[in-house]
Symmetry: C2
Subunit: 331 residues, 2 copies
DNA sequence: TAAAAATACTCCATAGGTATTTTAT
DNA sequence: ATAAAATACCTATGGAGTATTTTTA
């Protein structure tokens, strides 16, 4: 352990981080609730302590130097750790309370949250959650920056290093207008049957699009020249006869509530996504999120029969989901 | 980004960390070069800021509370990151100079270091290295605590999360006294031939013992009732006719310098270890260590012919070693 | 009772404030 | 000319020191 006396303070790092964020000493000073000269002085001291200029000052703009870029990543990580330290103490006294800032992707939230949010409230009355909906990439960035505490998404997307609690496996199903040749059989649909079929898919940026596109490729389907921005739109288009699509089973009860669609399971290996609650490694909220994930899993399990009913077919016994795992996501 | 003004300072963390390490306020104050009351005051302030008692003070001893244990891990990580921040700036100005504290395991150091240390000195004159010899587990702990900058060891041992630069693959070879039935052929030795043979192995704690034991098990050999503390001892015992053993090819030129041993390659899949330079993820010295690793690899490559000559057999063309990889070690 | 941490207090280094100057567009 | 950062200078918080008291094994 080195730990010679440190030549800088957390406060200096905070000020520097604010300047880097806002590209202005003036506004940084405002955000930090100090006067501009005070903040300037601290930043200068930091630069002197480190022996490197972090910012290039112009009278109209502030630029971050190359050295600054290199240093500020570490600075942000340190400030995040400092937040975590404070938070971890709060968690000691009060393991399951406070407000969690949670992200969720749009292909999950409308279908899962109505189920599980009431359950959460019932099971953990001290815990409140703020849900933010966005695409995987944005959520992960917010997670890494500490703007979110956790996120509910599909593990099949590239996530980087996270801790996770798996909620459920969500199989994809084939959806077509009633009477469409692809939904005349009730047996699981094989890729061969779908060869050449015209698929409607989601717009870019949705991880579900990528997965559906993968399957579409193996089935030698072709993508139609329209991209929906939501599963609801997709379902409407299919109901209108514009083509067929894949939907996560989770979405079927909602999107087919008026029974305008015919649904068919897919033959194994059944394509699916794995829904999970993920969080930053070593987040002080890890234990709380783990517990929350378990609640979510149980709520999902309880919803299974209804999901099966909606697609008119029993699922194969779901592989026992494993918990308490920390691992690196794909890519 | 949260980053509300932090209620504690790096200095407070440093003092608390020193108290935890030394279990004494007085000695912690000495180490930190401040008076005992000053340090006490800061620790008390930290406890108040966090709202939790970190230490249980007795007149004869200081105990770390449960909360303290929970908090101090994070504290140490933060202090390490602070060190890294300072170091990363030093690296910016001067990428390949300074002193690296490097660990190496005893089954590598006597064979590889004499080769590569002169090469290192020649290639990176500004860079000096302090080498520490110890077993893998101890080295990894020192690495995680920031007491070492890098370590040269075998990737087959459980390492946790590290960045690495692979140096070379080092195959194991069969070593027996001349005239021993197992070394009459010059063809690669198969596990079947070795069935029931008496193997001399290293003492516990050496990762090479574990690997040799694995092979020994697949070959249905039996371990003799003696455990050597070094490969040198092992080689001496074999030369004295006490049994046979496996050695890393790297060790053969040194341990068989008087040609008292007969050496035979092993049939594929040839057991081997993968030597690599590893370091903490995000270490500011990463780029320097990466470069150093490349030097080590080239020095190893240059030594190949001599190693082959020493075991009297050409190796199969070595699989192209991959560089620039960061990955999680086994276990 | 003795060793160790906490308290009492003084001092000064420094973070922060206001007023002003410098700088670059 | 003007917006923004640096400088000058003052204030006051608080970190560090010495001397002393309290605590407990």
């Amino acid at each position: 352990m080195r730990s010679s006396p440190h030549p800088f303070t957390l406060r200096q790092l905070q000020y520097a981080s604010a300047v880097a964020d806002l590209r202005s000493f003036r506004r940084a000073a405002e955000r930090c609730h100090v006067s501009q000269p005070s903040l300037s002085a601290q930043v200068i001291q930091l630069e002197e302590a480190l022996g490197v200029r972090l910012f290039e000052r112009g009278s109209r703009r502030v630029l971050v130097t190359a050295a600054g870029e290199a240093v500020l990543g570490r600075v942000r990580r340190m400030l995040l750790e400092a937040d975590d330290l404070a938070e971890s103490v709060r968690q000691l006294g009060d393991p399951l309370s406070g407000t969690l800032r949670l992200g969720v992707i749009p292909t999950i939230s409308p279908y899962l949250l109505p189920e599980v949010v009431p359950e959460m409230r019932a099971r953990h009355p001290g815990l409140s959650a703020v849900w933010v909906e966005d695409k995987t990439e944005t959520l992960m960035e917010a997670l890494r920056d500490g703007r979110l505490d956790g996120a509910l998404l599909a593990l099949e997307a590239p996530l980087g290093e996270v801790e996770k609690e798996v909620i459920c496996e969500d199989p994809f199903v084939l959806v077509a207008p009633p009477g469409h040749p692809l939904v005349q059989s009730s047996a699981p649909a094989t890729p061969q049957e779908m060869r050449g079929a015209g698929f409607l898919l989601l717009d870019d940026g949705h991880c579900f699009r990528d997965q559906a596109l993968d399957y579409c490729a193996t089935a030698r389907g072709r993508e139609l020249d329209f991209r929906a921005t939501s599963l609801a739109t997709l379902a409407q288009m299919v109901a209108g006869g514009a083509g067929v699509t894949l939907l996560p089973r989770l979405a079927v009860p909602v999107e087919n509530r008026r029974s305008e669609l015919s649904v068919r399971r897919l033959a194994s290996p059944e394509p699916h996504r794995t829904l999970a609650l993920v969080w930053r490694p070593r987040s002080p909220l890890g234990p709380a999120l783990r517990l929350l994930g378990q609640t979510l899993r149980e709520a999902c399990l309880a919803a299974e029969p209804r999901l099966d009913a909606a697609i008119g077919g029993k699922s194969p016994p779901p592989g026992r989901v494993r918990g308490r795992t920390a691992a690196r996501g794909r890519s």
